[in-house]
């Protein structure tokens, strides 16, 4: 028996303006390659007779009842068929503008596209918009089908005219279609069988063309990128492995390779490649969903990208230029908080600047728009709260594409063109503005603090075990209070029930932002303000540092999560209360945060 495990499968999307014949083409492909289940064609024909409607190949696809009643394809559908060469999944994407999000969904899972144009109606708005979106989604294999050639009497002149007109448009998008085919889908001309009616056309049929599409060269040769999807430790199941799980987007990594986690910058080597029910692997390759274990154990979060130190590294930036396609019910506006999802990372993002809106049908640009509306394609600048990791679109499509979530809905998608360097972060901008308008008191924080023999300080304790750090923080407050310091400890639950009672679900970024703002006020009164935050990362500590400016912060890390700094101390005290307190108090003394100190 032939082994078909290796038989290739290609996803194809069929797009084009509504009624230009997409469904008919697909129906015809299925019928002429004998791919329909037995009896299907007959039953649809019977259905048409019963309802006195003329038979349409498109009906074959309209498996859904409510679709047939509306008479339009409302969603993407997957259709399976095969040729001698390989198998196909055809993704049927509707042409109506309201269903553009479905078209984009369909196309983003495709490796090749068939663009359909009605020979009679000619190039319509959606013919162009779809072409534009295909270029943005990144599909390289494209064939243009000029359909309904029967209506224009199989006229070569009209075919050539349309071909030239459309090619002009596509070339501006850097799309070079594999070919243009004149077809009559209804009769099957040049779909699977060569047409007798167009002797002037010597090219391939549609089926021959899609069979000759080359699969995109795999991403194995590009630098290694594995976004961390999750970190697993199934201790409860007697499994001590700490596995970093993810799908490799590009490249290859082997055991012993030195890897770097970005944006945190932590480095180590790969210890093992992990999988289940497989022989021990020594490498992990683009496309695989497996796991790795590391030689050094350190704190890692989902969303970081594993790269190899020996290869070109991706960009890490909080400000970047993108091409964005917007599908949201509400326009994208300035000042609103959105989420960006890129690789496995999710970050808060703001629209920073609309450079221009591109009219997808004539490629003209509009400069002075103040918001991005539904179905707009925009070139704009986005700013994230924390830096994100990405590659440039020209270098690696997979790690440069992103979606934007508005409230709960994916509302936009796009590709990153380039990072913008030396830009102020969102927080820096905010603090600058805040300090500018802050009405300053005549009494400085230092004046207030010197009364108590202390300097004002924002103290943060972090670690993985929240009860333990809370206990240490409370004891620290008590010890400092007992020696006459003006000190205040605030635990996260207190904040949540009061200042954060507006949260419907816990919003960590906002939580940290509020603590930072609160610290700025409290330290201004000259007190030592103590709080705890579980698993603080480098960017969050930077965020707190910035928000608390011009006052000072000091962070104690009990888990070795952070990079040590002037104001970040790693305490390897194993959460022991007494030793930790002893160490903290000594540091406070050395740094002149508390002036006198009796043990």
């Amino acid at each position: 028996m032939e082994n078909e495990n290796n038989k290739d499968r290609l996803n194809i999307v069929v797009v084009g303006h509504v009624d230009h014949g997409k469904s008919t083409i697909i129906g015809r492909l299925l019928v002429d390659t004998n791919s329909l289940p037995k009896g299907k064609l007959e039953s649809v024909k019977k259905f048409c007779e019963k309802n006195s409607r003329p038979f349409e190949y498109a009906f074959l696809l309209d498996a859904l009842k409510d679709e047939q009643s509306q008479g339009i394809t409302i969603d993407i559908a997957r259709i399976f068929f095969k040729t001698n060469k390989r198998e196909y999944i055809i993704i049927d994407a509707p042409g109506h503008i309201e269903f553009l999000k479905n078209m984009v969904t369909g196309a983003s899972h495709a490796e090749a596209a068939v663009l359909v144009i009605d020979a009679n109606e000619g190039i319509q708005e959606n013919s162009k918009r779809h072409g534009y979106l295909l270029s943005m989604i990144g599909i390289k294999n494209i064939v243009v089908v000029i359909n309904k050639i029967d209506i224009i009497n199989y006229d070569e002149g009209r075919f050539k005219f349309l071909k030239e007109e459309y090619n002009n448009f596509l070339s501006k998008l850097n799309i070079l279609p594999y070919s243009y085919i004149p077809v009559c889908a209804r009769d099957g001309d040049n779909i699977v069988f060569k047409s007798e009616k167009m002797k002037w056309y010597n090219g391939q049929t549609l089926l021959e063309v899609i069979d000759s599409f080359e699969k995109e060269i795999v991403d194995e040769k590009k630098p290694f990128r594995m976004p961390v999807q999750d970190i697993y430790k199934f201790t409860a199941h007697d499994d001590d492995r700490r596995i970093i799980a993810g799908t490799v987007e590009s490249g290859v990594a082997r055991i012993d390779d030195e890897v770097i986690f970005l944006p945190s910058g932590k480095k180590t080597q790969i210890k093992t490649i992990e999988s289940f029910n497989e022989t021990q692997q020594s490498q992990i390759i683009a496309g695989m969903s497996k796991g790795i274990t590391l030689k050094t154990q350190f704190y890692i979060k989902r969303g970081e990208v594993v790269c190899k130190t020996s290869e070109e590294l991706p960009c890490v930036a909080h400000t970047f230029k993108v091409n964005l396609f917007w599908m949201g019910r509400f326009p994208m506006i300035y000042g609103k908080k959105y989420k960006i999802k890129i690789n496995t990372n999710r970050e808060i993002v703001y629209l920073d600047k609309i450079l221009h809106i591109i009219n997808a049908s004539d490629l003209t640009t509009e400069e002075n728009k103040t918001q991005i509306e539904r179905y707009d394609v925009a070139q704009c600048v986005l700013k994230t709260l924390k830096p994100i990791v990405f590659d440039l679109y020209i270098k690696n499509q997979k790690t440069s594409r992103f979606v934007i979530v508005d409230e709960y809905d994916i509302s936009g998608g796009g590709i990153i063109l380039e990072p913008i360097k030396d830009e102020k972060s969102i927080v820096d901008k905010h603090v600058e503005q805040r300090e500018f308008i802050w009405e300053k008191s005549i009494i400085s924080p230092q004046m207030r603090a010197s009364r108590f023999g202390q300097s004002p300080k924002f103290i943060v304790l972090t670690g993985t075990f929240s009860e333990k750090i809370d206990e240490i923080a409370k004891n620290l407050e008590k010890d400092l209070f007992d020696i006459g310091k003006n000190v205040y400890y605030l635990g996260s639950p207190k904040l949540l029930s009061g200042l954060e009672s507006d949260f419907t679900t816990f919003d960590r970024e906002e939580h940290i932002r509020r603590i930072g703002e609160l610290a700025r006020i409290l330290t201004d009164t000259g007190i030592i303000f103590i709080t705890t935050i579980v698993d603080l990362d480098d960017f969050e500590s930077e965020l707190l540092r910035s928000l608390n400016k011009p006052n000072e912060i000091i962070i104690f890390d009990l888990e070795n999560i952070l990079k040590a700094k002037d104001d970040i101390f790693i305490l390897n005290t194993n959460y022991d209360v007494d030793t930790t307190l002893y160490k903290i108090k000594n540091i406070l003394l050395n740094k002149n945060i508390i002036m006198e100190y009796y043990i």
Partner: protein
Amino acid sequence: MNRLEKLESLSIYIIREAYREFKNLCMLWSIGKDSTVLLWLARKAFFGHVPFPLVHIDTNFKIPEMIMYRDKLAMEWKLTMIVGQNKKALEEKRTFPDGKVNRIECCRLLKSEALKYTLSGEFVRYKLNLETGKYEIWENKEPFTGVIVGIRADEEGSRSKERYFSPRDKQSEWDISEQPPELWNQFKTDFAPGTHIRIHPLLDWTEIDIWEYIKKENIPVVSLYFNQGNGKRYRSLGCWPCTKPIESDSKSLDEIIFELKSGKLKNIAERSGREQDKEDGGTLETLRKEGYM
């Protein structure tokens, strides 16, 4: 990577994504080949473990071999095995085999309703005790908000319109016209409170992929799929009153795969042995809108 490796990789990615994003997550296990492949993929995704409960809806009319096989694997693989049932309908004998309702209504009661209220925690749920091998009432009454389901797009019309992550509203209805966009590998994972999500990691798999994968990975499947010497085997498993075996001599995985590819089953729909599909062209669509898979 070959075709099966690619399918496996995407499915694992989707399962891991679901595990990451949903606190109250479960996987439906119908005991059939598809959801067993799904279960296997979960074991691959989590390196031999299955970190969420498996939910099985017992209609009380399942072929006995199926139940034995379910419990055997659950013990062996240390699964958190949860079973639910529409006790009331069964007690009142409102079933097709009892002659009180038609096939569709029977499916609706024993599958759709049973599933809906088992997921919501309103029906009593039973959990397999891995020490004793017995089922005990499960104290946890929290609803599952994320449900991983092993449907395939090639099965029949309506299924081909699904997304990998497909939201249902509070009535677990499926609104086909308002499906969220899914771009590349970015799925909808942000929800208004109260939304339920069906996750479909097998959407791109075909029946042949399933069998070839079972063979490649050596996954144990119920013996009912194979001809036991009487010239019959099941192609699709369900309740015994409504699922008939097909005429087939296939005794092994290789024979099944051959039969599907080039043999007599090449152009015959997979669920042709299921009687409820025949009563009305839109049955599955209706059942699906109500939440049955």
